[in-house]
């Protein structure tokens, strides 16, 4: 459904990136990976993806800062950002939304939700 589109996955844990990557590749994305917010930001600036998925708790630059940076960058403000986290309480979801996240997916990831969120943000 999204063949030819690229997704950037930002998470400090390789196994988590792999799991998400598998989902996304299953949808037809080609996937780039970054290990923290800063690396993700640099990759996005160099080669803007169609959608970004980020964890919150990461070293160097966390997911919320990454959201802010992305939304403050005129070249990247249009790229939807999905925050993924195990924090299920409202305060974290709100924090993510207030920092510019376009959607919030709780971990563990439910494939149908992920699919739905991708459809929402990429309009198809």
């Amino acid at each position: 459904m999204v063949t030819g589109k690229t997704a950037l996955v930002v998470d400090d844990y390789h196994s988590m990136r792999l799991t998400l990557k598998e989902h996304l590749q299953g949808f037809g994305f080609s996937v780039m990976e970054a290990e923290n917010g800063l690396q993700g930001l640099e990759m996005a600036r160099k080669d803007p993806p169609d959608i970004i998925f980020t964890d919150i708790v990461m070293p160097v630059m966390d997911g919320l800062e990454l959201c802010q940076e992305l939304k403050n960058d005129p070249a990247l403000v249009g790229v939807p950002v999905v925050v993924l986290s195990t924090h299920a309480d409202a305060s974290y979801i709100l924090k993510a939304i207030h920092n510019g996240a376009d959607d919030y997916v709780p971990k563990p990831i439910e494939a149908p939700l992920l699919k739905k969120v991708v459809a929402r943000l990429l309009h198809d």
């Binding site: 988590m16 923290n36 690396q39 195990t86 409202a90 919030y104």
Partner: protein, 715 residues
Amino acid sequence: MTEKDVTLDRMLVKISHLDRLLGLVGEVIITSNSIATTNRRIQEHYDRKAPLDKLSMDMIKAAEESSNRISSDLHGLVMDIRMVEIKGTFQRFRRPMRDMAKEAGKEVEFVTEGEDTLVDKTIAEKLYDPINHQIRNAIDHGVEDPFERQRAGKPAKANVLLKAYQRENNIYIEIRDDGRGMDPDAIARAAVARGLASETETARLSPEDKLRFIFQAGFSTKEKASTLSGRGVGMDVVRSNIEELGGEVVIDTRIGQGSVFIYKIPQVTAVNILDCLTVRSGANLFAAPILNVVSTVRVPRAKIHVAFGKGKSITHLGNIIPLHDLNELLGESPLDHAGDATIVILEAKKGRLAVEVSEFLAPEKLVYTPLGRMFHVQGVSGVTVMSGNKMGLVIDAAQLLDRSRGIAADVEEEGSVSALVKKIKEGGIQAAAPPPPVEKAPPAVTAAPAGMVEAESFGDRKVLSSDVGREIAHREEFLMELEEMLNAAGGEILSLEQNPNDRELLNRIFRAFHSMKGNLMMVGLTELGSFIHEVEAILDRARSGDLTVDSEIVDILLDGADVIGAARQALAQGKAPSIDTGLLKTIEKFKKPLEKKEAQIVDVSQRTFHLGALERFNLLARRQAGQYVYQVFLSFKPEYQQPFLVALLILRRLSDIGLIFGSVPAVEEIENQSVGTQLKVMFASQYDSEKLKEYVESRLVKFYDVTDFEILKTF
């Protein structure tokens, strides 16, 4: 290097892949060797008929040299990749150290140095046991209690140092304590008392030699068995462990000042590519390390000397060498001695030995796995996979020589070759790949024993049957990362005990638990994940200054880490992880009493919009600009996400096409979760009714769980 560089500089690789790579490198080396041989033959051939021109000769030589160099570089590189920091091993002692010192009523500061020293992963794993013994000994025997220390004019708190460093090709591990030290004379007296030596014998010994009695099996200077270190069992095991790695143990001690044990271990012994001569002896295949092979000969039966009808020998280059049937020597049924004898002459430090075999096979480069203490057969050091994927036993020439001379091995249990072969065939011992590390459970928590999978609960432990048998995606990666996180967290928790007010430290621990939770939830281990959530909640309270970090909190954190550790171990073994329900109860004590905050759901039908002056102004301005003003009623039913999130996202989508003046519930109410399944929005848009309807259907109904809607154009 900045932190960023560090994270970019590493990746996880499966050890099994590396070992396969190592095996392939071995193949490359063999191939390159055979190229060299072929080249020599071509050369010899042409030398006899028409000498090869110099250019061709040089080309052959150059190709041979570079293929040799490349294959040996490859080997070196793979060995480098297998290197890990000793840190992981060292960190595993921090927790037991603390517990042991507590139990023994001693004050001990545990210091580590040289944690970044790189060692082969297999060595790192094999060092665990000996270091563990030594640390126990240091605390139990070496270090005095605070009172005794003060009387001796020492600080009450003792120091135990664990240090690693590399010099040339050796890894050095030091275990140093500033305790009471060892008295060589007392040790010698104890040795006499235990019948290990006579008084006249010990009288001649140097203090260094007297100290070495502690390495003898069954030696102990402490009469009472202690729960910590048992009855002095251990130092003999320590020595044999280190010797298994090809290393040695050096002791330095001063009475009243402390002791230091230094392990010197050659860096390259763990996984090795071994040049071997492979032979068949009856039904068994053996590999004799080339370094130990002096020669291979075929000797007519008539030329074999038989002394007194028993011992056999051969003469080789003027030397008389005792001859044994390899099978017979290893306790198996003897070979069929017909025709010329096929003989391998082996050499060890202490002498030479000829063994008769059935057949020479080929010289091979083999990746071999030391038998270690899994199984002991005197004369066999390891197992290997030979060409044709056949299992072979690697000959230990020194042990074989001892065996031929009737010197028994210093082991408790001696196995036989046939039992070993049987065990390999049953998969009990894996050749070629190093043996799986023996998992050490942290002392406070025992892993779920096999068979507990079916049980719903077992004593005070809850077995998470729902988590059983789940297919974990990227299992090995996941387990590896979990272990890394655990090790990191364990160290930080212990530091926290020393620095309870270190916020950054607390944050790091929080992050570690949070990540572990996330990863466990991610792979579907939700019950375990929610358990960690409880621990995380404690950390969150501590972070916000709500809780004071004391030793009880540290215990909870350590126990929490233990539960994860035991779960990790269970998962690694394909068993069900279990949770300590006792710990949950303790945690409960520290949990904040839940604030009863029942959000009032706003009744959308009963409320009208509250428009402020600014909104009213905006509404007029939009209308004058030719926009339409709408009230939209929406019913939505989120399947996966919380209603307030979906409500907020719906508002965003509407503000994409217009300006929202107000909503019921208002944004603040939605954020306080006072939203049910209905939403009313007043907004202005350029879209006409038809276009808006289409937009709501194609976006909100399709993607945002809107089940029903109504659009009212107000003007």
